[in-house]
């Protein structure tokens, strides 16, 4: 149905990659548009109730829906249409050439009995809708998938306490793999997810793992009724478009992962998405074994988000390469940008992060906790620290390379109190900032940092172009501190802070500046 395209991509130097990225991504969007158009050629519609499904929210339809999918996949494919009503179900497996179409008012309602879900032995996770090694599949329509994960997860907790399910109950919650997601597709090709609302899973929400050609358009995600409720997880996929979508999630919103050291998550377009999170907005990682390459993220809005609007982690041996983020509005979000190389589970692989452009950003950082009042708020940290700056932090010998920050304005609250937490600019104080290679990467991980706008360490070629940093109240720290940065450049840096006309706002330590 779809002509496979081999992505021809040559390594580039400096920011030539952007031009190539743009043309590549145009091709990708066109290709995936073709995928969706060819779906409208899936002619035949079948009504789920014709197979005996009872949309009363009480009768369990698992077997019936599966029977319908099995029939359609062996009879030329088509859409299994759910007319308005509530279809209670446990685990079903979507098969090739079958699209689940949820009419407006149709709800696929997850059973709250954990035993109604399968933990797939190959995938190792539980889900309401699985697809494994299938082609030309989708979930469309303006109906809803409602996992009711709060109840399912707590029923699982009860089963564990009763001793009938084994689980260490780490942090007093069942392992993520022992709670059903709404959707988990693995090693599938040509996937369309369009229009639907995905609500309340018991674990992550929707995972696309080692899939090729994934097109996500105009979905809504309401995902904050249990721990680890992500927005969307894209793991080691090739050829992804996510656009026009809204996410409200307890955990990371747009989350790209790389579980397999021999795979990579690549050729991804994200456009026109809005997200809210008690973790991060756009995230690469945390699991980052293979890496992330060729991303074009445009026009995203992040609000009321606890941690970072944009955070890329290369902490498990993977790479982050050729990334363009263009057009970000981030309001009431705890941190704006955090780029990190670490050494958590690298297993001998050399992590790298290079060729990252982040431009056209307006951001406001609040003085208070940004996600207060949302269900499953992010965990309060016991850290004496003032408001953290954005960070670009590599490891000694593993610098983050060639990052351009262009047309950016960040408004910070300022007003750091040195009696509460203080990190000065002496060599001893700067060196006292721990490297923490094996730590979980968070913008807040180093506790108090010596800058209020940007903290840069172990990097090469960091370019500030037309960057405005505003502190609304007086700060004891400078705006920017660079430590072990080779080739930092400033082109129109504007720092605004009350009563600080003669304050030196850029502090370089073991670093070299290049003039533009």
């Amino acid at each position: 149905m779809v002509v496979p395209i081999i992505w021809l991509y040559c390594a580039s130097t400096k920011n030539d990659f952007i031009k190539q990225l743009m043309s590549l991504m145009r091709k990708l969007v066109l290709l995936l548009l073709l995928v969706t158009i060819s779906y409208s050629g899936i002619a035949k519609d079948y009504n789920a109730t014709d197979f005996g499904a009872v949309p009363d929210g009480v009768n369990l339809n698992t077997g019936i829906i599966q029977g319908a999918i099995d029939y359609i996949t062996t009879h030329g494919g088509g859409r299994l249409v759910f007319t308005p009503g509530t279809y209670l179900t446990g685990t079903i497996y979507l098969k090739s050439n079958v699209v689940l179409h949820l009419d407006s008012g149709a709800v696929l309602l997850g059973s709250v009995n954990p035993f109604d879900y399968v933990k797939d032995p190959y995938i190792g996770w539980m889900s309401m809708i699985f697809a494994l090694k299938q082609e030309n599949i989708g979930i469309t329509g303006t109906g809803m998938i409602d996992g009711r994960g709060f109840y399912t997860a707590n029923n699982m907790v009860a089963n564990i306490h009763k001793g009938i399910v084994k689980d260490p109950l780490k942090q007093d919650r069942p392992n993520e793999t022992n709670r059903p997601q709404n959707v988990y597709f693995r090693e599938c090709k040509n996937i369309v997810i369009k229009g639907i609302t995905l609500k309340d899973p018991a674990s992550w929400n929707q995972t696309y793992d080692q899939c090729k050609n994934l097109y996500v358009d105009s979905i809504k995600v309401d995902s904050k009724n249990y721990w680890n409720n992500d927005g969307i997880d894209v793991v080691d996929c090739d050829g992804v478009v996510i656009k026009n979508s809204f996410f409200d999630a307890a955990d990371d919103v747009l989350c790209f992962k790389s579980h397999d050291p021999s795979k990579i998550c690549e050729n991804v377009v994200v456009d026109n998405c809005v997200g809210r999170s008690s973790a991060n907005g756009l995230k690469f990682g945390t699991v980052s074994r293979g890496g992330f390459r060729n991303f074009k993220v445009t026009n995203i809005t992040i609000y009321d988000t606890y941690r970072s609007a944009i955070t890329f982690a290369a902490v498990d041996g993977g790479i982050v390469e050729n990334i363009l983020v263009d057009g970000v509005k981030s309001t009431n979000t705890g941190n704006v940008i955090y780029l990190r190389i670490g050494d958590r589970w690298s297993g001998g692989k050399i992590p790298a992060m290079k060729n990252v452009v982040i431009r056209n950003v307006y951001a406001e950082v609040p003085a208070k906790k940004a996600d207060s009042g949302y269900l499953y708020e992010g965990p309060v940290e016991d850290l004496p620290r003032n408001i953290s700056p954005s960070g670009i932090v590599g490891l000694p010998g593993h610098p983050i390379q060639n990052v351009t920050l262009e047309n950016i304005k960040i408004v910070y609250p300022g007003g750091a109190n040195p009696h509460y937490a203080r990190r000065g600019l002496t060599k001893a104080e700067l060196d006292s900032i721990p490297e923490m290679p094996a730590a979980y990467p968070e913008f807040s991980q180093f506790k108090e940092l010596p800058a209020w706008g940007f903290y840069l360490r172990h990097a090469e070629g960091i370019h500030f172009k037309n960057v405005t940093l505003v502190a609304q109240e007086k700060e004891y720290r400078p705006a920017i501190v660079a430590d072990d940065v080779k080739g930092i450049s400033f082109d129109k840096l504007d720092v605004q802070e009350p009563d600080s006309k003669k304050k030196k706002q850029v502090f370089l330590h073991n670093s070299t500046q290049v003039k533009k």
């Binding site: 369990l60 077997g63 019936i64 599966q66 029977g67 099995d70 035993f115 109604d116 009938i164």
Partner: protein, 245 residues
């Protein structure tokens, strides 16, 4: 000497202790007649089998289920008033083993069904569901077989005691290559489904004791290779002693 006796008893006791009882609700089964309990009941059977065997006990109530597979050293006990109700959708029997049935088992040992409760096939509902799917052409060949109430293959030491078996859509009981089968004090009333309601035996050694069987046609039939049957005190609705054919 007493000391050694105590030691001996301490060692023997755990092994000779009667098999443990587990309530169906432990595994989340609901007795409302509406909740489909297939996977909770299956989890109960699997758990009991993996933990030294025992009995899964259903107290009064209606327990809707699709096909479940019995495992070695597990018995199902239906207390008086407990009804295991077969699902009205043929798709809920895809979890069957080699013989399609509400309760089935293949290659298991020391298994049983007991108690004064009921296993009910709801033939009219299920056959109607199959007819409607057939008319639409949606019924795959693999689904054409109507489910029995009980279906066992390659099992030994199988006991069916006291239960009431009602209204099968397919056969009441099917036994294939089973030995040491004992059916005792069972009441069978299954007459709604055409061409159904029988007990089919293939190469099986069975004792059929003290039971009442009300089905259309001949109750006991050899299918395939005849085995051995011992019948005592078992009659049909006219009071005639049952005979296999």
């Amino acid at each position: 000497m007493n000391f050694f006796k105590i030691i001996l008893i301490a060692f023997v006791l755990p092994f000779s202790a009667p098999a443990k009882d587990y309530n169906a609700s432990l595994f989340g089964a609901k007795s409302d007649g509406l909740t489909l309990n297939t996977r909770s009941i299956q989890k109960g059977i699997d758990y009991i089998s993996e933990n030294g065997g025992g009995t899964l006990v259903f107290h009064v109530g209606r327990y809707l289920t699709g096909s479940i597979q019995l495992k070695s050293n597990v018995s199902i006990k239906l207390e008086e008033g407990a009804v295991l109700v077969g699902s009205g959708s043929i798709y809920d029997y895809n979890s069957s083993g080699s013989i399609k049935a509400i309760i089935c088992a293949d290659g298991q040992q020391h298994i049983g069904i007991s108690g004064k409760g009921v296993i009910e096939g709801r033939s009219a509902l299920l056959l109607d569901n199959m007819t409607r799917l057939k008319e639409k052409g949606f019924l795959l060949d693999s689904l054409m077989q109507t489910p029995a109430l009980l279906g066992f293959s390659n099992c030994t030491n199988l006991s069916i005691d006291s239960v009431n078996l009602w209204d099968a859509a397919g056969a009441v009981q099917v036994f294939r290559k089973c030995t040491e089968v004992k059916i005792d004090r069972v009441t069978i009333k299954s007459k709604n489904a055409k061409d159904a309601g029988n007990i089919f035996m293939d190469n099986t050694r069975v004792r059929f004791l003290n039971s009442y069987v009300e089905v259309p046609g001949k109750a006991l039939q050899w299918s395939g290779v005849p085995g051995e049957i011992k019948i005592e005190g078992s009659v049909d609705k006219k009071g005639s002693i049952l005979q296999p054919e």
